[in-house]
Subunit: 135 residues, 4 copies
DNA sequence: GTGGTCTAGACCACG
DNA sequence: GTGGTCTAGACCACG
């Protein structure tokens, strides 16, 4: 259910945060559900347990999950669907902002950006996957 | 003419590449024009010598400028408007790809992405500037 | 009569020690009274058997209760009101010491600490409950 | 200027966060000042550099310092004395809240707590140091 | 069994 | 030179 791409330049622990955050936000993981243990997920993903622990710690600080010493890690009860949706929306807005920030620094116009985005999103829709990122 | 924001999380050398690339692409820097020396620009921007050197090396490899040992650095003569436009287009495509890659990792749908992009680009068009990136 | 908050960051076994110690100190549990068995209390509180066992062991070591193999666990006969008060006093002193230790590590002055304590204790007196701890 | 107690049960990285936060809050470290490098401070404190890095990361997330890849770590320019004071005040309030929370769980009265606090703070004032925490 | 802290050390990105 | 990421593994606290 959770997978990471070790060759990506996005740190492994960030990928885990994104994946788990997504599963919670979309309701695949429901409030109260136990997450895989730190060591179990580390084994599954073939990464070090510290890497998973770091991701879980960030998710805990973000109020998405609740870590209980010696008992395990659980999706936070208090997180309503509304809140989950808000987290997701905030993440999307941040993503777009940082994208447009890069475009502005390179002096692209809104028209440039809109047209190229339209093309690639359309390709993504058809292919089921977006064009691969350059290495 | 070239400025960088040291507090930004975008690496300094990337900012320099973007700025110079932009100045060339928009014709502010014309073929044959001499760029400031690495040492001069490093002093002006108050950044490390190696940082500017790395940016110039990347621009050289991209065929935007030509570094001539002992003579200085020049905007490439041979760079036609067409080529400049191609470089610019490639940069834009890369930007969009990396944006969509992030969206996929967080499992947003093409619709999600399209609608949020549309909103923020529209805001950018009206304001002249896009929403600020988070710190 | 005994309850714990699993979401609190205070370890479960510490909460049990505190609760039982309190019930004894205030005379709700009197010398000779039998405590629930480890297994019974663990079931009631929905916590691990070992957690209750650890709490009972600490209470035993502190001379508050007496665990008699195969017979059950009892509030100590020999515990006079005076002794109970001494235990209570020792607990309070430990609490204050650890509080002031934290303040010193963060370099607060006695004046800082005294004034903030005064404010919150006053609020507690009026409200019947002190300000909630952060999650 | 920064010291830690490796025998304390308070994690080393938390102690570093507290110390540095304090130095900033009291103006000993001023906005723009560079902090010791991660590796340097680790050597000085005789702890692993990862432990220091973790503390710096937390301070960065808290908006106290600014970490600049390859350049070093600096006290954040934007942090006004007012903000620093607010951070400090919030820390003190949290400390007192968690102290009173413990007292309530053990069923002490406001009077109990006030009187014991008064005694130990007075001792601290006279001795220059508060009573040592139990091991 | 489950998570937390810490170390020693490799390798990398940025300057 | 400076910070970041990751690993392998020890040892601990809590359950």
């Amino acid at each position: 259910m959770i997978s990471v791409d070790l060759r990506s330049h996005v740190p492994t622990y960030v990928q885990i945060v994104e994946r788990v955050g997504h599963l919670v936000a979309t309701g695949v993981l429901k409030p109260g559900n136990q997450l895989p243990t730190v060591r179990q997920l580390a084994t599954d993903l073939r990464v070090n347990f510290n890497t998973v622990a770091r991701a879980y710690r960030l998710l805990d600080e973000a109020g998405v999950i609740s870590t209980q010493q010696g008992r395990g890690t659980y999706v936070l009860e208090g997180l309503s669907t509304v809140q989950a949706e808000e987290l997701r929306q905030a993440a999307l807005e941040g993503l777009v902002r940082s994208f447009l920030g890069g475009a502005v620094r390179m002096a692209f116009s809104p028209d440039d950006v809109e047209s190229e985005s339209r093309i690639q999103i359309e390709r993504w829709r058809r292919a089921g996957d977006p064009p691969a990122e350059a290495e």
